[in-house]
């Protein structure tokens, strides 16, 4: 069994590309006068969050790596390192990404980590870099366990995960409308991902895909971008801070404030951690389901249309 296998750190290598594409997108918007918006503090916050994500990986990455290597020593299976194996690993890891991402929107403990990626009211290439600092604490590394146990080397799993992240960079833009039909049918695109970042009732909890949009179509979470309803970016309750520390930790603070409320049952406290965002013991807050239901009361004509089926 191969213990020593290394792949390049593709995310770090892509940093110059990220900077170049951000500048290119900004120039495009400035020259054409369309295709997105930039705001200084918002963009800086996103970029600092991206840098913090890399730093968090350097500091806490050993936790996931240690877990993966423990699994690797446990499994008798080794699929090797051929190109086909790497390709299979990429596709299966994208399926893994879909589910982790879906959990990230449906389990508040995981949402606490992921929420910062949705906390900008802008949608441009800097938003792609507004990444979590706290993913280690979600324990979502367990979703990668099956990949390693069936014989994909941990280094390969992290390598394809990096490629997945790089792919998702370019789809965070309004500068690209729609891609050719076959691309829109198979791949995650700017149009599909704009829907995912929309706070419109129609677009909540949709399009979790990383690279292949087919997962959303397969698991019933696909919603197309409608020309008549532009995505409104940000959170249902937008945060009022550009402070990266507050951006990174605000939902964790929210969870702890909720579970420490007096007079709750232990079930209530658990539900504040694992129920979908917006759940509350007294029903005083809105989940995506109640937001959609309330929207349909105001707009019954939307019933049966995408996002309300």
């Amino acid at each position: 069994m191969t213990d020593q296998l290394t792949y390049p750190d593709v995310v770090s290598l892509a940093v110059p590309l990220f900077i170049a594409l951000i500048l290119a997108e900004f120039m495009w918007i400035a020259i054409k006068g369309r295709g997105g918006r930039y705001e200084t503090r918002d963009a800086v916050t996103s970029l600092v969050m991206g840098a913090g994500n890399v730093a968090a990986g350097l500091v806490l990455g050993f936790v996931a790596w240690g877990f993966f290597m423990w699994l690797w020593r446990l499994t008798p299976l080794d699929l090797g390192t051929s190109v086909w194996v790497v390709l299979a690993c990429f596709v299966l890891d994208d399926l893994r990404y879909y589910w982790v991402h879906r959990f990230g929107h449906r389990i508040r403990w995981v949402w606490a980590s992921h929420v910062n990626h949705h906390s900008s009211q802008h949608y441009n290439l800097t938003t792609a870099l507004r990444q979590t600092w706290t993913s280690t604490f979600t324990f979502m590394m367990v979703v990668r366990a099956p990949l390693i146990l069936i014989g994909f080397h941990p280094a390969m799993v992290l390598f394809v995960g990096g490629l997945n992240l790089i792919y998702q960079f370019w789809i965070h833009t309004e500068a690209i409308g729609r891609m050719p039909r076959w691309v829109e049918a198979i791949m995650n695109t700017p149009s599909h991902h704009r829907v995912h970042h929309g706070r419109n009732a129609r677009y909540l909890d949709a399009n979790y895909a990383g690279v292949f949009i087919i997962w959303d179509k397969l698991f019933g979470t696909f919603v197309p971008e409608l020309d008549e309803e532009k995505p409104d970016y940000g959170l249902v309750h937008n945060i009022a801070t550009f402070n990266p520390i507050r951006v990174a930790f605000h939902e964790w603070v929210g969870i702890f404030k909720d579970i420490l409320q007096p007079g709750l049952t232990w079930r209530d406290r658990l539900m504040y951690c694992v129920a979908p965002p917006g759940w509350s013991h007294d029903g005083s807050r809105d989940t995506s389901e109640t937001i959609k239901a309330k929207h349909l009361i105001r707009h019954p004509e939307d019933s049966g249309t995408p996002g309300f089926q």
């Binding site: 970029l47 009211q121 507050r246």
Partner: protein, 128 residues
């Protein structure tokens, strides 16, 4: 990539992009009008029925009366944020009012107001 090079890229990348955005006018704050404040509040709280809006003379905040109670809308970067005013603390400053929302995602903020506005807004906020 060596960590030192990555660090240099990140520091110069962020600083350069920040400078470029600032120098091309991307730090400007929009001014609220009655219509834009109304639209913004409805965007944040679509279930609320707005009863009255007072936009500050300075133009970066608005007090919103709705069927859900009193709320505050303010300019945040190029956009807006809003909060219902329940359980917040309001204190007078030399230039306006300081509102502490007791919300980690909305740190205390100072809203510039004229002397007259400050008195009327504070009275309404404390009664909320």
């Amino acid at each position: 990539m060596p960590l030192e090079i990555l660090l240099v890229l990140v520091v110069f990348g962020i600083s350069g992009i920040a400078l470029l955005l600032h120098l091309t006018g991307r730090s400007k704050r929009p001014e609220l009008t009655l219509d834009s404040a109304r639209a913004a509040w409805s965007r944040h709280f679509p279930d609320d029925t707005i009863e009255a809006i007072q936009v500050s003379i300075e133009g970066h905040a608005a007090l919103v009366h709705s069927d859900a109670g009193l709320g505050l809308l303010w300019v945040f970067g190029a956009d807006t944020v809003a909060r219902h005013l329940t359980g917040c603390d309001v204190t007078k400053t030399d230039t306006g009012l300081r509102v502490d929302f007791h919300d980690f995602a909305a740190p205390p903020a100072i809203f510039p107001l004229t002397t007259d506005e400050r008195a009327t807004w504070q009275a309404q906020m404390e009664a909320a």
